[in-house]
């Protein structure tokens, strides 16, 4: 990937080479064009899809994960014939169904709809509205404003902390009826759990690497795996992460070791203040979990947290991993059924990358539980956010959040 200013050039594999330019439309959930695209209007018509009604005509359709009915070939060819098709399609994996539709339309009507497969890491960069230009196997991305955060002299985390360093009045917790929580990193001490699982493996393979480097490598591999395979169950994501770590470190991970790491969530400890703080907050708010985990693993964590949540939204329920917005949409729909409107919801989380960025994009208010405030390194197991984000409030711990609520209670 080559960067200069606010322009990035991505390189992939052209399934159907050609030239195209237009604004990106990034699909937030898998889409089958059959039943999902109305070729007459060029709009998404799948009633289960979060972007129902969006126009794809003239856009560069970015599909991080495909889901193809085999009749989608016909629908794409028909859309190309009618001029309602995307200008080009960017995929994360080769898709024969879409290729056939574009190929046949090219033969019949001499109209190209180039298709390029980009690696998952490239997909993580592209956002809806970015200007894209496709040229063979290359995709040039330009974004209005600042794309290259490395240009800034001040590190990202400092800028973020400065915005919430306590000089602002504290957020009024009385304005909320429901708290949605990230789990791992916020309530469960996942870094302790990850290190407890990885250290014996690293020792057995005689790998010398310090904890922060191991966590940072974990964070990179995990977010990549989650973006690449959004419907994989979390134990499989973790197993894949171990394989990636092994490859990075030049050692091996056996199938058994990968599977054991995949199943280690059940042993990850809770932060010592989580259960008490949740028990207290549960008397004042509806509590909802929005977590990058599978249901089975979460049951073990839930036992450590003590409380009964009003709703639990896992990656299995969302069909994707945060920072995809799916979790939040599902949670907000569930809360709406419980009579809680979005403006009465506060999202509480440690990860700026997984939680605050997507929650803010949806207009949610957020509380940063900055568990790593006293650590020297920036991210730990959590990647840095790709764009600047400003949470509405910040506390160092869950106990501090409960205290803040107590102090704000009328006497």
């Amino acid at each position: 990937m080559a960067r200069s200013g606010n322009r990035v050039e991505l390189r992939g594999r052209a399934l159907l080479a050609g030239e195209a330019a237009g604004p990106a439309l990034v699909l937030e959930a898998p889409l089958s064009l059959w039943g999902g695209l109305d070729p007459h209007s060029g709009r998404l018509c799948d009633h289960h899809h979060p972007q129902l009604g969006a126009t794809i005509a003239g856009h560069i359709l970015v599909m991080p994960s495909g889901r193809g009915s085999s009749s989608s070939s016909s629908v794409l060819a028909e859309a190309i014939r009618l001029g309602t098709a995307p200008a080009a399609i960017l995929l994360a994996e080769p898709d024969e169904i879409l290729l056939l539709g574009a190929l046949v339309a090219d033969h019949l009507y001499d109209r190209a709809c180039p298709i390029v497969v980009l690696p998952g890491s490239a997909h993580a960069i592209i956002a809806t509205g970015d200007q894209l230009a496709v040229h063979g196997d290359r995709v040039a991305l330009t974004r209005p404003g600042d794309l290259d955060t490395e240009e800034s002299e001040q590190p990202m985390t400092e800028r973020l902390t400065a915005a919430t360093d306590g000089r602002q009045p504290a957020l009024d917790l009385g304005g909320f009826s429901a708290l949605t929580f990230d789990c791992y990193g916020t309530l469960i001490d996942w870094e302790a759990g990850i290190l407890a699982a990885l250290r014996p493996w690293a020792a057995a393979h005689r790998v010398e690497v310090d904890d922060e480097a191991l966590l940072a490598a974990f964070g990179r591999a995990e977010s990549r795996r989650e973006a690449d395979d959004p419907t994989a169950p979390y134990p499989r994501i973790l197993a894949g992460v171990l394989e990636d770590l092994a490859a990075d470190l030049g050692v091996t991970a056996s199938r058994e070791e990968a599977a054991a790491f995949g199943g280690s969530v059940k042993d990850w400890p809770a932060f010592p203040d989580s259960a008490d703080a949740l028990a207290y907050l549960g008397r004042h708010y509806r509590l909802v979990i929005v977590s990058n985990v599978d249901r089975a693993s979460f049951r073990h964590s839930n036992a450590k947290l003590g409380v009964t949540f009003d709703a639990v939204i896992t990656a299995e329920d969302a069909g994707a991993y945060k920072p995809a917005p799916n979790h939040f949409r599902v949670a907000l729909a569930r809360l709406a059924e419980l009579g809680v409107a979005q403006d009465r919801v506060l999202h509480v989380a440690q990860s700026l990358f997984h939680d605050h960025v997507p929650a803010k994009e949806l207009g949610l208010r957020t509380m940063w539980v900055n568990r790593r405030a006293n650590r020297p390194e920036a991210g730990g197991a959590t990647p840095l956010p790709p764009v600047p984000v400003t949470p509405d409030g910040e506390v160092p711990t869950m106990a501090a959040l409960a205290d803040l609520h107590r102090r704000q209670q009328p006497r």
Binding site: S69, S70, S71, S72, S74, A77, R81, E96, V104, R255
Partner: protein, 422 residues
Amino acid sequence: MRLSGRDRALLAGDDGPAAQLAMRIVVELARVTGASELLDVGSAHVDGCLFHGQAGLDFAERLRAGGAVVRIPTTLNVSSLDLLHPDRYRGDPDTARDARRLMDAYVAMGCRPTWTCAPYQLPERPGFGEHVAWAESNAIVFANSVLGARTARYGDFIDICAAITGRVPDAGLHRTERRRGQVIFDVRELPDRLVAEDVLYPLLGLVVGAETGHLVPVVDGLPPGVGEDRLKALGAAAASSGEVALVHVVGSTPEAPTLAEALHHRRPDKVVAVTAAMVRAARDQLTTAGPGPHRLAGVNLGAPHFSVAELGELVALLAGRSVHPEVECYVNTGRHVLARIDALGWRAALEAAGVRLVVDTCTYITSILEHTSGVVMTSSAKWAWYAPGNLGVRVVFGSLRECVESAVEGRVVHVGALWEPR
């Protein structure tokens, strides 16, 4: 990529422009799938005859005009029209005209006018290990799983190109290593009384499809010798909720005499213990109508197309009773099955009881239903999965017995005992 002399001759246009175009498309697909050569296929099942718009028609007519003829026995999937009961069609007449032109183009290329999504119910069907090029997700999963034939997930356009050239890329499920079972679905926890019921199998298929991703599932723990209609329902549902194109059922499907053989003697990637609660959740997911009471507008059976045996069971469950006058009850099936039940006297009995037999198409893909308000009941997971989006109907899923009792009584009847925890 290694091409045969014949492949190269087709590419050079020796058999005319249509065969040249078909071969180009097969080779393009081979390039994308990374195949190093092409394989001969013994038969094709073509899905492109279902009308989705002008482009599909233009493609078929371009091939036809270029002199295309299929080189291998080729059956046709359902279309948009019931040619035996044309008055049932309630859609736009221009669409009907184009849909008919599309059907005619495929027949003109030498395809057999079978118009069924269950080509495996026809007398001649592929043998074990035979390479075929089948489209239509439920036919694909049946051919791979139940017959042990080998087909990748083909769809529109490539299906007819394979039929014209007789060639496909050596990729996907054509290759032995890609047929290894990867995810075990252990059903031993399910109560025996549920395992004994037909209704379990489509629901189990939904669970398998939703949990498998793009891997190959293995169902382990069912009594041996699960019948073809149950395997059909399981596979069709798995191909609806997921991308399943092959499911091994230990003790019932030919590549799975034992669990170890289904796994190719390797460790599974994942094991899922299927619980009665998961099956119940799948059932509840299929019912899009909220809690009642509802007016029962219709009952739809046969997706995939009903077999002779399933129609026999329907006759037995009706037991001489008639469908309630305010309920439209449709059964989708193939022409060949209709001819068979005609000979058995069942067709007359069913029609006298008010059952409307639909052939050549299916009631969830075309405009046939008279009433789409109220709720529609079905015993087909596939029908229940797609009809709300395609037709805008609200669906109640139930067993065949529940569907029949509901059709007769004119209201939704549930036989609850099966589902109550003990």
